[in-house]
């Protein structure tokens, strides 16, 4: 094997002293041949006049596209070599940008070869001006981007797949969440009922729940609560709670007994998983002439607010009761009130009072006091008006809403249907 010239200098950076011939060889190599470098560069070069016509093109690009020089120079414009979508993109984005800022880089386009095949490329263009600063040419460098574009397409596909999965998840979450709430509240003669559920995240099931359901011709069960945590586990727990409460209430309508039954069911799970607990208010409504007698028990949940027909409003004092599920033996003490015409009872979860809000409270949370003041301004009210007001309040808290929130309002209309005089 003959020795190549290139092998001669041992260390090309520091030629041997006196080795002038070596140095000349080396420096000529360093300079390369500018013409050859242009023609056979590892990228395409293209110069176009301002009207778009191709003035100069290198061999590399001609080889890529399968054109002869004569077919392009003076005859075709750069945008002729693009697919139609690229042409539109060139005219609406690249040409204006080149005019406005003199250069534009890193643009992904597709060129069309003479045989119709497509060559994905990355393009950078710059305007070359004459000594007077007048633009005369546009110089474009073109890189073969087949591998890069294939990779990007994979990324794009993966993103589209992820978007679809997310849409599917959100759909599932919405459907599941709905299945854990009554689709509509039942009509209770002589009672106004309204509810609202605010879901903090479209991607995650919340842990709040409520229900209102018939027990007999004159009595109805109601509950509202909050399970520990979020997501699928919380949803499964909510489902268990909901069906246990409904079944227990039908079996024995005594509210304290119903919550004890729920406690027994949850405690069994709690022993296996110490997140299996919840807070809840359970109650039974019984029609009593022009109003309702309401017997409530609570297990660790916030007390409800009671708005009276005379415009007064306050939290309803009632024994706290234990968290449901955490202890084996629990005792609940019922509280009985009467809802007369014009009275409204408002049950809520702490997603409302724990929302971050501009407040004087050291906690930075909206807080029980603010809610009491809000409801006092509202009273006397109706179930529908109260829930609408709470929805507006939640909206006003914007990003401060960090958790799900549920409200259930029950009111006796002040002016029952006028009887025929």
């Amino acid at each position: 094997m003959g020795r190549d010239q290139r092998d001669e200098p041992k260390n090309p950076v520091a030629p041997a002293p006196g080795g002038e011939t070596d140095f000349a060889v080396f420096s000529s190599l360093l300079e390369d041949n500018a013409e050859d470098l242009y023609e056979n560069a590892p990228c395409g070069y293209l110069s176009t006049l301002l009207d778009g016509r191709i003035a100069k093109v290198n061999k590399t690009l001609l080889n890529w596209l399968g054109y002869s020089r004569d077919e392009l120079v003076g005859r075709r414009s750069f945008s002729d070599l693009l697919n139609v979508g690229g042409k539109l993109y060139y005219e609406t984005h690249l040409a204006p940008l080149l005019s406005m800022q003199g250069e534009v880089g890193g643009v992904a386009l597709e060129m069309r070869a003479a045989d119709g095949t497509r060559l994905p490329v990355l393009v950078t263009s710059a305007v070359k001006s004459d000594n007077a600063g007048e633009p005369i040419l546009i110089r474009t460098t073109i890189f073969d981007a087949r591998d890069r574009r294939a990779y990007e397409r994979e990324l794009l596909r993966a993103r589209e797949e992820a978007d679809r999965e997310r849409a599917r998840l959100q759909d599932l979450v919405v459907t599941l969440q709905r299945s854990l709430l009554p689709p509509v509240l039942p009509v209770v003669p002589g009672l106004d009922a309204a509810a609202h559920y605010y879901a903090a995240s479209p991607d995650e099931l919340g842990g709040d729940f409520y229900d209102l359901f018939p027990l007999s011709g004159t009595s109805w069960g109601l509950f509202l609560g909050d399970v520990c945590g979020k997501g699928a586990r919380a949803a499964a727990l909510t489902s268990l709670i909901r069906y246990t409460l409904r079944t227990a209430a039908v079996y024995d309508g005594d509210p304290a007994t119903v919550l004890r039954t729920l406690n027994t069911a949850l405690h069994e799970q709690y022993l296996r998983d110490d997140r299996s607990f919840c807070t809840v208010i359970f109650g039974v409504l019984s029609s009593d002439g022009d109003g309702f007698t309401v017997t409530l028990v609570r297990g660790g949940h916030s007390v409800p607010l009671l708005m009276r027909a005379d415009g007064t409003a306050d939290y309803l004092p009632m024994p706290l009761g234990p968290l449901i599920g955490a202890w084996a033996d629990v005792v609940f003490t019922p509280t009985t009130i009467r809802l007369a015409p014009g009275d409204t009872l408002l049950l809520f979860t702490d997603g409302l009072t724990e929302a971050r809000a501009p407040t004087t409270e050291p906690s930075g949370r909206y807080g029980d006091e603010a809610l009491r003041a809000f409801v006092r301004d509202l009273a006397p009210s109706t179930a529908g008006t109260a829930v609408t007001a709470i929805i507006a309040l939640l909206d006003s808290l914007g990003d401060g809403r960090q958790d799900d929130a549920a409200v259930l309002a029950l009111g006796v209309p002040d002016n029952p249907l006028p009887s025929s005089a």
Partner: protein, 271 residues
């Protein structure tokens, strides 16, 4: 003289002479009001120039973007009329480039009394071929454009966008970002591209009653000569001027000729 940044939903900028007739410059699909930078200073001598960005591009209010509203030209037309109403602009010379030319047509049909003249630069009432009508493109060409948009987020950085677009009063924030003139939320660009290239306003042209100038480039891939001739034939009181210019943006490639043609029509308006 006095520049007045109104900002707001459409990032409106008033420039030029307060005592002169109002000229509204509306850019087309692709970039923003900077497209007028080579002609606006010259026009400012003879007009009160109104510049703005379409919602979904430039420095328009990002929260104003709604995909349904801007899925037809009507949403953009409503914005143009809203600007006219809010700023009490009357006798407006409306200059619309590309798709904004058709917005001007629709606005002038809705409120002919508000517009003195229409100047349509590179207008096309329909880009997609339809039977004997030659718009120059097929639907699959438009899909290719959408692909090009998908693979090029020019000047768009999801992380930077809220900072820049939320601070129209601090343009310096955007200057580090190259290609910012064509900065568009990719989702908005996609909708705007579809709206632009899939609209059909051929039957609207005959309803224009306002004196209209059609400025056509001699070599324009997007709005070829025959499309310009079609628009001219359909709009009753129209004049067609063909500028010796290449490309779709004579206001960038041939600004002096563009200004001269606009002035000849709008300033030295005949009897």
């Amino acid at each position: 003289m006095g520049d007045m940044r109104i900002g707001g939903r459409n990032n409106v900028l008033l420039t030029g002479r307060v005592d002169k007739p109002v000229m509204m410059l509306a850019n087309g699909f692709g970039c923003d009001q900077n497209m007028w930078r080579l002609v606006a200073p010259a026009l400012a001598a003879d007009f009160r120039v109104v510049l703005f960005d379409h919602v979904g591009s430039g420095r328009a209010e990002p929260s104003a973007w709604q995909p349904e509203r801007y899925a037809t030209l009507d949403g953009y037309v409503e914005d143009i009329l809203r600007i006219c109403h809010e700023l009490e602009l009357n006798d407006v010379v409306f200059v619309g480039h590309s798709v904004s030319a058709m917005m001007g047509v629709l606005a002038a049909i809705a409120e002919p009394e508000r517009f003195r003249q229409l100047i349509l630069i590179g207008p096309s009432p329909r880009y997609v071929d339809d039977a004997a009508y030659r718009g120059g493109f097929s639907e699959s060409d438009i899909d290719e454009l959408l692909e090009s948009l998908e693979s090029n987020y020019l000047g768009w950085s999801a992380a930077m966008a809220p900072v820049i677009m939320g601070n129209p009063d601090r343009p310096e924030l955007g200057q580090e970002l190259a290609n910012s003139f064509c900065r568009t939320d990719p989702q908005a660009a996609r909708v705007f591209a579809r709206t632009t290239f899939l609209s059909d306003n051929r039957t609207d042209l005959a309803k224009v009653t306002v004196p209209t100038l059609i400025l056509q480039c001699s070599s324009d891939v997007i709005a070829p000569l025959e499309v310009g001739a079609y628009v001219h034939a359909q709009i009753p009181a129209s004049t067609l001027v063909t500028l010796p210019a290449t490309g779709h943006c004579p206001h960038l490639s041939a600004p002096a000729a563009t200004v001269a043609a606009i002035r000849a029509f709008a300033v030295d308006d005949g009897p």
